[in-house]
C-alpha cells in the first residue's frame, strides 16, 4: 500500500464506516445482495481496488469459514489494514443489530399482518434482482476466459441440482486454476 498521511488514513476509515453502514441499511434479504453496490462504491467510485481484486476477495471470503457477510472484513482489510477490517465489520453489523434488538420482540406480534406480508412479498423480487446483479458483476470480473465461464456455469448447475458441499467445488476450482486450466 502507498504510505498514507494520518489524516488521509482517518479519512479512509471514516469513509469505510459511512459506506458500509449504508450497505447494511440497504441489505434487504441478505448482505450478499449488496455486493453489486459494494462493487460500485469500492471499485468504481473510490478506486480502492480493481474489479478483479474485488472478485478475488469475494472468492476468498467464500472459501474461508464464516458468514458470507465477512467479505466486508476482507474488503476493509485490503483498504485500510486491521483498523479497516474492524471498521467495515462493525459498521456492517452493529447498527442493524441494534435495530434487530429493538424491534425483534415487537415485530413478532405482527406476524400475520397483511401489510407485513405485502412488504415481504414486494421485497422478494427486489432481492432477486440485486442478487442477479451481484452475480453478473462477479462473473464479468472473475471470468477472463472461456474455461472460466464454463467453471462458473458448471458450479451453478451443480449447486442447483445436487446437495454437494460447495467447498469441494472451490477446491476443484483451485486445482484447475493452479493447473492453468482456468
Amino acid at each position: 500500500m502507498s504510505p498514507m498521511s494520518p489524516t488521509s488514513e482517518w479519512h479512509t476509515l471514516y469513509q469505510l464506516g459511512v459506506d458500509f453502514l449504508g450497505f447494511s441499511m440497504l441489505a434487504i434479504g441478505g448482505a450478499i445482495s449488496t455486493l453489486a453496490e459494494m462493487h460500485r462504491t469500492v471499485v468504481d467510485q473510490h478506486g480502492w481496488m480493481t474489479a478483479g481484486e474485488f472478485a478475488e476477495l469475494v472468492a476468498l471470503s467464500q472459501a474461508a469459514p464464516g458468514p458470507n457477510i465477512l467479505v466486508v472484513t476482507l474488503i476493509g482489510y485490503r483498504v485500510a489494514g486491521l483498523a479497516g477490517a474492524f471498521v467495515a465489520t462493525t459498521a456492517m453489523c452493529l447498527p442493524t443489530s441494534i435495530i434487530t434488538f429493538a424491534v425483534a420482540g415487537v415485530w413478532q406480534r405482527f406476524r400475520d399482518a397483511p401489510l407485513r406480508i405485502a412488504i415481504e412479498a414486494g421485497l422478494a423480487p427486489m432481492t432477486v434482482g440485486l442478487m442477479l446483479a451481484s452475480s453478473y458483476l462477479l462473473v464479468r470480473a472473475a471470468d477472463q476466459s472461456i474455461a472460466a465461464y464454463v467453471a462458473t456455469a458448471v458450479t451453478a448447475l451443480v449447486m442447483l441440482f445436487t446437495r454437494i458441499n460447495p467447498l469441494w467445488l472451490i477446491g476443484a476450482g483451485a486445482v484447475a486454476g493452479l493447473a492453468g486450466l482456468i
Binding site: G30, A59, C93, A118, A121, G129, A133, Y136, A142, M159
Partner: protein
C-alpha cells in the same frame, strides 16, 4: 427466501425445547460460524433446530423471515434475535460475538496472506480458479431465490427492473430501492387482495 424450514418433519411429537444459557449461545453460534463454508444458514439451522433444539422448525422459519426482513446481515440478526429471546442483552451479545469473533480473525489472516502473496503467479492462478467457482455459487443462490412462488409470477418484472438498474445502468442502490420497492410492495398488496377476493368468492 431460501425456504429450508419447510422440510420440517410433520410429527413434532417431542417439542422438548431447550432454553440455552448465555455460554451455550456463545459456543453454539461459534461452532456454526466456523463450520459454515459458503454460507452459515444450513449449519446454523442444523445446530439450532436439530442438534440443540433451541427452536422448533416452524419457530426457526418464522424468526428467519423476520431477520431477512430487517436490514443487515440475516445470520447476525438471527444470533441477536435468538439470544435476546432467551437471555436478553447478554444473550444477544453472546450470540453475535460467538458467530463473528473467530471468523473475523480468520478473515484478517486470509487478508494478510492475500496482501503478501496475492500477486505470486501460482497464487494468481489459484485465485482465478476459485473466483470463477465463487461467481457460480452466487449465481446459484440468485437462481434459487428467484425460483419461489412469489417471485415466479409477473412480480418477476420488478426483479428484472432492479437487475437492469443496478447491473446495466449502474445506478446507486438507495435510489433504485427508493423508486422500485414501494411500487413492488403496492403490486404485491394488490395481488394479495385479488387472490383473497378470488378465494372468498363474490359473497359480499
Amino acid at each position: 427466501m431460501t425456504e429450508q424450514g419447510e422440510a420440517a418433519p410433520a410429527g413434532d411429537a417431542a417439542p422438548e425445547r431447550h432454553a440455552p444459557t448465555v455460554s451455550e449461545l456463545f459456543w453454539g453460534f461459534l461452532s456454526a460460524g466456523v463450520s459454515g463454508f459458503g454460507g452459515v444458514l444450513p449449519f446454523a439451522r442444523r445446530m439450532i433446530v436439530e442438534k440443540r433444539r433451541w427452536l422448533t422448525a416452524e419457530e426457526f422459519t418464522d424468526l428467519w423471515s423476520l431477520c431477512q426482513f430487517l436490514p443487515g446481515p440475516n445470520i447476525v440478526n438471527m444470533s441477536i434475535a435468538l439470544g435476546l429471546r432467551y437471555r436478553g442483552l447478554p444473550g444477544a451479545l453472546a450470540g453475535a460475538l460467538g458467530l463473528l469473533g473467530a471468523p473475523f480473525f480468520i478473515m484478517v489472516g486470509v487478508g494478510a496472506l492475500y496482501m503478501r502473496f496475492g500477486s505470486v503467479p501460482q497464487v494468481k492462478s489459484v485465485l482465478a480458479g476459485i473466483s470463477a467457482v465463487a461467481a457460480g455459487l452466487v449465481l446459484a443462490m440468485a437462481i434459487k431465490m428467484a425460483n419461489t412462488p412469489r417471485v415466479r409470477s409477473w412480480m418477476a418484472l420488478f426483479a428484472v427492473l432492479a437487475f437492469t438498474a443496478i447491473a446495466i445502468a449502474r445506478l446507486p442502490l438507495a435510489t433504485v430501492l427508493a423508486v422500485l420497492a414501494p411500487m413492488s410492495i403496492v403490486a404485491a398488496w394488490l395481488r394479495m387482495r385479488s387472490a383473497l377476493a378470488r378465494t372468498t368468492g363474490d359473497g359480499r
